[in-house]
Amino acid sequence: MGGLGRVMNPVLGGRPEGVSTLHFAMDDADGVDTRQRLVVVGNGMAGARVVEEVLERGGGDQFAITVFGEEPHGNYNRIMLSHVLAGEEHEDDIVLNSHDWYADNGVQLRAGVRVRRIDTHAKVVHAADGTATSYDQLVLATGSRSFIPPMTGLYRSDDEFLPGVFGFRTIDDTRAMLAAAAEHEKAVVVGGGLLGLEAARALQGHGLQVEVVHAGTHLMNQQLDPDGGAILKQSVESLGIVVHLATRTTEVIGPDRVRGVVLADGRAIDADMLVIAAGIRPVTEVALMSGIEVERGVVVDDQLRTDDPDVYAVGECAQHRGEVYGLVAPVWEQARVLADLLTGTDPDAEYHGSRTATKLKVAGVDVATMGVNRPERDTDEFLVISEPRRGVHLSVVVRDDRLIGATLLGDTRKVAFLTQAFDRGTPLPEERITLLVDLSDGAGSSDGREPGVAELPGDSQVCNCNGVSKQDICDTVASGCTTVGGVMDRTRAGKGCGSCKGLVKQIVEWAADGDVVEDPAESWYVPGIPLAKPALMAAIREQGLLSVSAVFAALAPGGAEDAKSKMGLTSLLRMIWGADHVQENDAKFINDRVHGNIQRDGTFSVVPQIKGGVTTPAQLRRIADVAEKYEVPMVKITGGQRIDLLGVRKEDLPAMWDDLGMPSGYAYGKSFRTVKTCVGTDFCRFGLGDSTQLGIDLETRFQGIESPAKMKLAVVGCPRNCAEAYVKDVGVVAVGNGKWEVYVGGAAGATIRKGDLLATVDSPAAVIELTGRFLQYYRENANWLERTYDFVPRVGLERIKHVLLEDGEGILADLDEGMQRSIDAYTDPWGQDGRQPATPGQFRTALPLVDLPKVPVR
């Protein structure tokens, strides 16, 4: 599918040398293997899971297992392909069973080999490579393929799409789309179901303009009712994706490659990619060619047996009691039943169908559905809460006091309880509305009605994507694995769509009964050094490590450098050693190397320091002259009360700084940024304190200080808060009678949080002292990139007060001293590097042939 030559692609989960066919001591060439021969056709999620379940039941001694897979790859998590397409996940991370895994478990993997037909009389499998393989028991797990609706001009030859047309089923499809996305601008996605919307969102994330063409009258019509679909459409469109409903693509405009499509109503849409995600069809050719009964899928009974007693079918290719499934949860159940039967663990095991409850994130919107989505009888109760403006649509269908269906769109907080009520028919609250909303004002499960993790039955499925039950998690914890990350690695819980991560964490915590070991890697300061911040700081101090390369050599596993750890370490070393830190330019992010913020076209911005937002005519004149002289494409007043010169060539930076004669405003660093102020007592008729002067003094004292994340402050002259002090990392508010309130941990960026009142003090000097102590405490204790709005609630206001106001840990003198060391180490980087480059070519352009700047000139 996708028309991409497979041979050129690396094998996913393969061995480095690309070995794909393996032989073992026990295989039949020796003539001593007395085991039965189990052959599995299809190495997808179902086939591989059957093998795993068989091995888990000791089936390795009973069976010599051979798996045929048409794809050359190991087994990978197909449901993660949307994440790979979105660039959120690397393809190597979605491998479930690598070629090595098969080898290690004595399973013969015939990867890249398609099975043609089975001779059920001779019990032999004929493969496309001409081989014949005998079996005693055979499992068909051939899955599905994309359904390709008819349209003219779609194919270049019999079995090859026009270039630019893609299905969305395999890793090779995904790779081909990623490659195409890098080169193209417009995509049309056919299909407004789960897959189509995921593809649309992912492609849009690569900067493509995307339009979705959906034949149904509303999006996700398999799962949602029309009202829910309409709300989802709004959410999807608000992302900038155009949606066409109730129409089809009838023609692909070519001829050499995709140029656009024509809709049923005659409209044409330009496009250079066409992605077809209009549904799936079971792959049944092998069964058909072998004379096995096929309707929509391969027909199986409750023991997953086809009409041939030694041939079974599982997964999306199977049709059981008239149902063909298109989700992974039923695959897990079927694989367990089949393994019980094959190994004789439970000879009476039966599969009775799956009640599919799905919880997904579709194009960034949470969706959970189970059972029916509309009332079916007059006596059915139907409760709907619809908030189109927030993109929320919730409904439940209740019959005879039992939940028979629920649809949650945009808000899935209630999904755990509803899934359980749906699966087990647990009693429902009298007040039906509490099924959908907490009436206890956000108090959540404390109303006693919603079961906590303790009450969840052991066999209830926690991770639908990977079929992991609460019991599986508890067993893993009991076997000694007590980190959340460790349990996730072992059971794969939470490694699918990720929507159950919170629940997994709760269960691990509950099962470990307070013994949860924090995930070590989670607590490391930087990913490349296995130490939490306090231990890392202690080691750096004890061993006198003055440079980033010295830290790697002494503390990283194998002394290995790690690119993504360098910036955090540079910041930490500067804090610890002040002026004694040995600078290494390669350990700095580009912004810190050239003291400007890199722009999308590789140019930089220049933001001179304008303390407290107060400037002078002379400064403004100089800025204006410089902007003209260097043809600065945009001059902008920033949200931080100063002036930004954007789109400056790297090679112009030093001369510009020199002409400006102003220090750097540090608008690029993880460092102290700005102190916004209001006009205060000098001019404002309400001013209660000289906020302007205090802001300037704060900025003068703490300018340029590096920290785990940005530090932005503000001082206002009264509680009218004109410079937004309540929502700053440190915000200072004059309240009259010479008093000042100091707030910490406020935010109004990606997160909005009102700061916590740390103290009310009675002089500007006291404000400066307390600010210094808070900032230093934060610098020493916050995680890399943790802003104060996360740090303050994590540590707790009480603790911070105890340390900073009462000297509860006896460290105030150290804090003062640590801050003073950094203040003494301050030098203006523009003055310094501008004159004497730190390394050769520090300001050489990095893209010599491109005309810069590319950003629009205003």
Partner: protein, 108 residues
């Protein structure tokens, strides 16, 4: 997945080894092609296309370690070994580069 797959290449002297500080990268033009040359702290030399396959970021301004090069714009990483992106972008093109009498020689 093309790596060093040119059948015919020409060697170009693009500058001096000292032009690239230890651990950093610098951009050059080799036979009309923009390349980014890196000198890792272990002394090894690497060369890639100068513009990031993701959105054209200046790779010479990126950060490196023994395994990967990280683009400064959106922090996508590319493996030295084969140019593949570990973040799902298209691979970066690699060029052979070596030192000759203090000169940097890139095969394009």
């Amino acid at each position: 997945m093309s790596v060093v797959d040119q059948s015919t290449t020409t060697a170009h002297v693009v500058g001096r080894v000292d032009d690239v500080p230890l651990g950093e990268g610098r951009a050059f033009v080799a036979g009309g092609v923009q390349v980014a040359v890196f000198r890792l702290r272990d002394g090894s030399l690497h060369a890639t296309q100068a513009a990031c396959p993701h959105a054209g970021g200046p790779l010479a301004d990126g950060q490196t370690d023994a395994d990967v090069l990280v683009c400064p714009l959106h922090l996508f990483a590319y493996r030295w070994r084969d140019g593949a992106s570990t973040s799902g972008a298209a691979p970066v093109r690699l060029f052979a580069v070596h030192e000759e009498d203090g000169q940097l020689v890139v095969d394009v």
